[in-house]
């Protein structure tokens, strides 16, 4: 009784603050919570967006495990995720470390490397389409010059998802480079120097001093990279439309296709719920892993 009185008095005391955040809370409810509840509700229905809907219970969820196309889109998404995340981390960190060592023209190179991030993913995807064009695309010409031979970037089911990885890497890498660079510059130099004095070499210093100091930055990037990877849609929409033969169909593409093309809102809603759960699970695992590693160190 006493504590609820105290809470009520606290709310009254800070009522201005609550008034100020009320619009944000309202829009949060309107554009985030209400749609999620609606999607959950739709996942138990069958029908089109504009047509009548029928309650079918968990049938859509059971169908998910039997529908080869939906399972394929989940698999493609996971394939993309486990490829692109290590790639952005390794390449991004290498470039950030190199940039960190440069004293002259660092800002110039940083600006140059940042340019792809300024373009929208649609523009980036269209640019890539012409970069790999068989007859005059620069990438194809370079590969031809090196006698490597240009693959069928968008038509080969075995490599199309990796073509998408390349496009997204090209555009998304700058964010990680800049973030890692900021993280590197925030590492206390005296700790690094102390490690050298103690006999550590460059690599040992990186893994035992620098990266642990960058834990918050790395954790943030890992979580965001996971979320963005699981939400892949734009470049699939522009470049492949999920093809060839669903080889580049991702979860979000599948949601879009089912709702708008196939008139199956229930199935699309079910995939949306699955995606939300997958993102939550991956984020939880990422955070758990980094906390576990922290405990191991201490």
């Amino acid at each position: 009784m006493g504590s609820s009185n105290r809470k009520f008095r606290s709310v009254i005391k800070n009522r201005n603050a609550y008034f100020l955040i009320a619009p944000n809370l309202f829009f949060l409810f309107l554009f985030l919570i209400a749609p999620f509840v609606w999607i959950l509700f739709l996942s138990f229905q069958k029908g089109g967006i504009l047509g009548p809907k029928v309650f079918v219970g968990f049938a859509n969820y059971l169908d998910l495990f039997q529908n080869k196309l939906l399972l394929k889109s989940i698999l493609n998404t996971l394939k993309y995720t486990v490829t692109v995340i290590p790639a952005v981390f390794i390449i991004g960190m290498v470039v950030a470390l190199l940039l960190n060592r440069i004293k002259k023209f660092r800002n110039f190179f940083r600006t140059l490397l940042f340019i792809p991030l300024l373009s929208s993913i649609v523009v980036a995807a269209i640019i890539w389409r012409y970069l790999v064009y068989p007859e005059y695309g620069p990438v194809s010409k370079i590969l031809e010059f090196l006698h490597i031979g240009s693959p069928n970037w968008f038509g080969d089911a075995k490599i199309v998802i990796f073509t998408i990885v390349l496009v997204e890497l090209w555009r998304g890498l700058p964010f990680y480079i800049v973030t890692f660079l900021a993280g590197l510059q925030s590492v206390p130099q005296e700790m690094v120097e102390a490690s050298y004095i103690d006999g550590a070499n460059y690599v040992q210093s990186l893994f035992h001093v620098v990266f642990p100091s960058m834990k918050p930055v790395l954790t943030f990037c890992l979580v965001m990279a996971t979320i963005w990877a699981l939400q892949l849609f734009d470049s699939v929409y522009v470049l492949t439309r999920g093809g060839p033969s669903s080889a580049s169909s991702t979860i979000v593409w599948s949601i879009y296709e089912n709702i708008f093309f196939f008139n199956r809102v229930g199935r699309g809603a079910t995939m949306s719920v699955v995606l939300i759960l997958l993102i939550a699970l991956m984020t939880f695992l990422n955070l758990k892993l980094t906390r576990f590693q922290e405990e191991q160190i201490t």
């Binding site: 008034f19 047509g51 068989p134 968008f154 060839p244």
Partner: protein, 428 residues
């Protein structure tokens, strides 16, 4: 101090209230109630559709003071979600240009049955010159949502110069000739093992609209059965269509590999002489002005053994038409505007600008040879689509199987079985 706190609270609440009012009143657009804005959405058929409709809109606005027409060309690659979202929000455009083919199937059922809103005289005016047999294409669940306005479709298109160079003075007339022509027209000019020119083009659902189901038509099979209750290619004879695809793409390798020219680059590749023949929509005519030296030929499809369906030369031919949304707030004005569109004087000019054929056969069009060739193929060999809730899903099932076959991932029998299995699942 207390007064200051009280005033600051009032001030903050007032700010919040004003911000809500601003946000939710913003949609008014500043229009007064007396001005009526008729919103018309249509997928573009020219680089400047607004210019094509300028005269008919000006005439309508002059006859109806206070009414303004807001014509919006809606890009084809987002047309489905744009129309669906608009109708689902309860605020669709007043008039849409709809068409058969699986794009707007989700929304046309929410347009008026024109027999309910037009009287006999008005209806007769709209229907003048249009055959009764065409009305089935614009009927959705028993509702006649429009009178067909245009007929447009795809035909067999080829590079005359490349065919002549290979010794052919006419396009292939049968699928056997198609296979032979494709072989002769596939060339590696510098002997490096890489094909520089293919005989046959790509299949795709991109803007070039080289629709994959033509191969089914050639063998006498359609996507659906007569009443749309089941798929139309489950008979084992349809396997031959997949065998033809296998022959062109995997055995002879005379067709452009899947995905080599994504999106609109396929049209560029055709005009760059990267392949000699394909099936495509008459919208390709609009590109010819960029290639004045290009000699393009248009013909009927090479005949397949399925003579029961369009004499084995079936091709896509759809009807385009104008529908009035049931949610329109300006029904009378929308009816007048639709009637204006169907005025033969304007219909002819619009058809001419798009390279289409008016469904009103009383309108006599003077067409150039290429436009006439497309029109002849559409009218004589067109296999019309019908509306259905899962048309897209079945189309996609067939397309997915054909893609798997083209890429060599599966053989023709597996591809056909996959198409049948997924097509049947789509209708459950």
């Amino acid at each position: 101090m207390k007064r200051k706190k009280y005033l600051s609270t009032i001030f903050i609440v007032a700010m919040i209230a004003v911000s809500f009012v601003v946000v939710f009143a913003a949609g008014n657009g500043g229009k007064t109630e007396k001005e009526a804005v008729i919103r018309v959405w249509k997928g573009p058929h020219t680089p400047d559709d607004n210019a094509v409709f300028a005269d008919v809109i000006a005439a309508f606005e002059e006859e109806n003071p206070g009414a303004t027409v807001e014509y919006t060309p809606t890009p084809w690659d987002t047309i489905i979600e744009k129309y669906t979202t608009a109708f689902a929000s309860g605020n669709p455009p007043d008039i849409i240009y709809a068409f058969t083919g699986g794009y707007v199937d989700g929304v046309v059922g929410h347009c008026y049955d024109i027999r309910d809103i037009f009287d006999d005289e008005e209806f007769a005016y709209l229907k003048k010159g249009v055959a009764d047999s065409l009305l089935g294409e614009t009927t959705v669940d028993g509702k006649l949502i429009a009178i067909p306005y245009f007929t447009a479709g795809a035909a067999f298109v080829y590079n005359i110069d490349l065919l002549n160079e290979a010794g052919f003075d006419r396009p292939p007339d049968t699928v056997e000739e198609l296979v032979a022509y494709a072989k002769a027209l596939t060339k590696d000019f510098n002997g490096d093992g890489k094909i520089d020119q293919y005989g046959y083009g790509q299949l795709s659902y991109d803007t070039a609209e080289a629709k994959p189901e033509f191969f089914l038509f050639d063998y006498g099979y359609n996507l659906f059965n007569e009443d749309m209750s089941g798929i139309g290619y489950s008979d084992s004879g349809a396997l031959d269509a997949f065998k033809l695809i296998d022959r062109l793409w995997n055995v002879d390798k005379t067709a452009v590999p899947i995905g080599l020219y994504p999106g609109t680059t396929m049209t560029d590749a055709f005009f760059d002489n990267k392949f000699a023949m394909w099936v495509t929509h008459n919208q390709i005519v609009a590109h010819l002005e960029n290639y004045p030296d290009f000699n393009m030929g248009v013909a009927k499809m090479p005949q397949g053994p399925g003579t029961n369906l369009a004499d084995g030369r079936g091709t896509y031919a759809g009807s385009g038409f104008w529908c009035i949304a049931e949610a329109t707030k300006h029904l009378e004005l929308s009816k007048k505007l639709v009637s204006k569109f169907y005025d033969p004087m304007y219909q002819k000019e619009i058809a001419k600008a798009f390279g289409f054929v008016p469904s009103n056969t009383d309108i006599k069009m003077e067409m150039d040879p290429i436009g006439k060739a497309f029109a002849d193929v559409s009218l004589n060999y067109g296999v019309p689509y019908r509306f259905g809730a899962h048309v897209n899903e079945v189309k996609e099932a067939v397309w997915r199987a054909m893609q798997a076959l083209q890429s060599g991932a599966v053989g023709p029998r597996d591809a056909w079985e996959q198409a049948v299995s997924e097509g049947e699942s789509a209708l459950q």
